[in-house]
Symmetry: C2
């Protein structure tokens, strides 16, 4: 019997398969945002000129009957575009399509980014590629672009085809409802969420040295929750600015900033098939274009973008699945930067460190263990007798020393306990310059969250 001879049975099997692969996400973000997270949602913003956005309800997941799950970010004029993609070898269809479009255009003339949540369109074969491309083409059509004007992203369950007709049928509504208001930006940021408990949106103004009187704007949205670790970290991020930046400079800026932001956060150490951060620059605010990596504007822009992306990516950690803590781990006085970053990453991933933090336990032994088993560190970087560990409290009070030059401190247990009650904590590891003992060396930083019962519940129990 060919499967086609038994459409009903085949469909039933397919439905079971789809059900089997369907990640039963929490309800999309609605008004019921946890009280503790509301402070991270902006009530107003300064958005880049010439950008218009919308969040539209499609119902990619049949169970979603009202929340927006299709996000469109569009510029009225052509943009320079750049993107950084997942390094996972199983790259989702939208990742492959967006890469192709950026290659074909060399990052010039991009107008839009279209994003659906609820289904990742990953491991979906040739059909999945066609679906992703059809989303881009449809947006081009409705925004008056001949071709290759739209980047595509998807987030959600792996191994399931998109309900592509439903999505395409809502693109006219997505384009007709484009707006530049704060509410529109917030709705758009909500539309890309999955297990996120709050939308992640930031905006700010800045100036560049070449025209000090001119105000530029940058805005960005991201989504995260689970499966978060470099490279890439965020699942999805879109940044828009009205500064004028040529594509090659934009790609270079983005890559450097992402390395110190989205690639320096960890929720659970997993890296998804769909992770993408894209930036569009339409130059609508005017001024001299940033067209070289050498000029002053470039250097200032790099700092602004890194700081902006750090703030944006930290929101992903704040909303890590089941997270109760926001932890910064800073590796100081390392002989080199890659080793510092590897050690920070290893501490950020250690289940024993993460569960100890959840339990509010000042267990520096586990931190030390993670430092000691970090793989790939340059020889002579970690020297037990030069290693110190301390906690920097969130309230600005003096650091609490736990280990100094390899010797345990007499820890004030009550103070340690008090420090660990705060949501925020910074762990400082001082490598003392490694074997050579040369201080003033490189610093590595990672932001991560703890491992809680809730994480296990979200990721293990959702089918029961």
């Amino acid at each position: 019997m060919a499967p086609s001879a038994q459409p009903t049975a085949a469909m039933a099997t397919f439905t079971r398969m789809v059900k089997g692969q369907m990640r039963c996400y929490s309800a999309p973000v609605d008004a019921a945002i946890p009280a503790s997270k509301r402070k991270y949602i902006p009530t107003s913003g300064t958005y880049p000129k010439g950008f218009f956005v919308s969040g539209t309800h499609v119902g990619v997941k049949a169970s979603n009957t009202k929340f927006p799950d299709l996000a469109l970010i569009t510029s009225e004029t052509p943009c320079s575009a750049a993107a950084v993609f997942t390094t996972n070898k199983f790259q989702a269809a939208p990742v492959q399509v967006s890469k192709k479009i950026l290659n074909a255009t060399q990052g010039q003339g991009i107008r839009s980014v279209i994003i659906n949540s609820g289904c990742a369109n990953a491991v979906t074969g040739k059909g999945g590629l066609e679906d992703a491309m059809s989303m881009a083409t449809k947006v081009d059509e409705y925004t008056g672009v001949a071709e290759n004007g739209t980047l595509v992203m998807s987030t959600g369950v792996i191994g399931q085809r998109l309900p592509i007709s439903k999505i395409l049928s809502k693109i006219p509504e997505a384009t007709s409802s484009l707006s530049s208001t704060h509410d529109a930006w917030l709705t758009t940021a909500r539309a890309i969420c999955t297990t996120d408990t709050f939308p992640k949106l930031l905006s700010q103004t800045f100036t560049l040295p070449s025209s000090p009187g001119r105000t530029y704007n940058i805005a960005g949205m991201t989504k995260g929750a689970g499966m978060i670790h470099p490279n890439m970290a965020t699942l999805l991020g879109v940044i828009a600015t009205d500064a004028p930046i040529v594509p090659s400079a934009l790609q270079s800026l983005l890559k450097t900033s992402v390395a110190r932001s989205f690639n320096a956060i960890s929720v659970d150490g997993d890296t998804s098939t769909n992770d993408t951060v894209a930036i569009l620059a339409n130059g609508a605010a005017g001024g001299a274009p940033i067209n070289s990596t050498q000029n002053d504007d470039y250097v200032v822009m790099q700092n602004i973008l890194t700081s902006f992306l750090q703030s944006l990516s930290q929101l992903v950690v704040r909303d890590g699945e089941g997270a109760t803590k926001f932890v910064t781990v800073r590796i100081q006085n390392s002989p080199d930067y890659p080793s510092a970053q590897l050690i920070a990453s290893t501490i950020a991933r250690s289940p024993l460190v993460k569960t100890a933090l959840y339990g509010r336990d000042a267990n520096w032994g586990r931190i030390l263990c993670a430092i000691g088993y970090t793989q790939g560190v340059a020889p002579g970087t970690v020297v037990p007798e030069r290693t110190s560990v301390s906690f920097k409290p969130a309230d600005g009070s003096p650091v609490l020393k736990l280990l100094v030059n390899g010797e345990p401190e007499q820890v004030d247990e009550e103070r340690a306990s008090a420090i660990l009650q705060d949501e925020d904590l910074e762990i400082i590891v001082d490598l003392g310059g490694g074997e050579k003992g040369e201080l003033g060396g490189e610093e590595g930083v990672y932001w991560f969250c703890d491992f809680s019962h809730e994480y296990v519940t979200i990721n293990g129990d959702y089918r029961t």
Copy 2:
């Protein structure tokens, strides 16, 4: 004020510090072994000739008022000895001392291994080294060895000094109660446990080609629970055999076997400061010594030892903290062995895979994700279109295909669910020979457990 001027205050601070670092282990293993684990405890055994063992109560942790926490394994004649140690850069005092003794003796003339549980004697400075050495020296004294006849191991909390006087005062009792009975071996195996819920002891007989009529014996004990990942994996393991093997051959045998056993298991991906596996061979059963890596006996011995250590190390996974599942992940048709092992290790460590298994969810998307983000794999190893994933049920029924050559299968959801209800599961990943498509390539295997609420409770909640 010098600290010595305030003994009471200093002691109070020290007590708080110690308390802060004290890992409040579950009660040492007693009669209350979980019903589901009792099947892993042997009721009899065949132990190597000339070896005598004891498990003695010391009370390394003050709260332990009756359970054995000092293990002694002794041969009445000198042994060849070999050991494999943690690669963690923060090596505990007993690791440093045992290495020194093995170096000084070149693995000849070793008689004993002394092990305490309850305190790891790690990050304890010069005093800790003296403590570890004094344990070895005291055993030498009571077993009539001039010097360097004893290896030392410790397991438990990091950053705390041993109650060394208490330990030394019990060594006479440990030596006077030495015995070769099954009960003595079991008590000894219990004495090295910490959060373990059951003692891990195995023994078997074997023959070697050079004297087919002669029966040899091998016995081993191990302990694990948390902080388990290569290299090394087990925390502690001791193996004793009455086969005659010269030290250089013994070290080579042990290293190779450990790579495919203790270094191929994962509970939580953390690697401790104390991990050690040691083997003693006293030759008491007679026969021709294995003195070359080339002869037939060596090859047979390698297979026996690897298989024995695999069984022993798998007991550690069976008793992983909070574990509800025992999972084998087998990577087939890899162009090379290291890549296969890296991919297996990455799947075994993925929190998303581990929580999905806990939730009995056939989420192959997460397995694929982990394959795709494995770092350090040789180029051309992972090709999405050649990758297949299936579940091999524990009951011997046919495999359940989830993904075939990169295309999702129509999965029988009910069968998948039934397969996942069993404690045991095998995940088969077929790389299809990588880029070249050459089948019959290398195979990598890892054994691991799931991530449960109980794991978080054990490691996060034990201070509340």
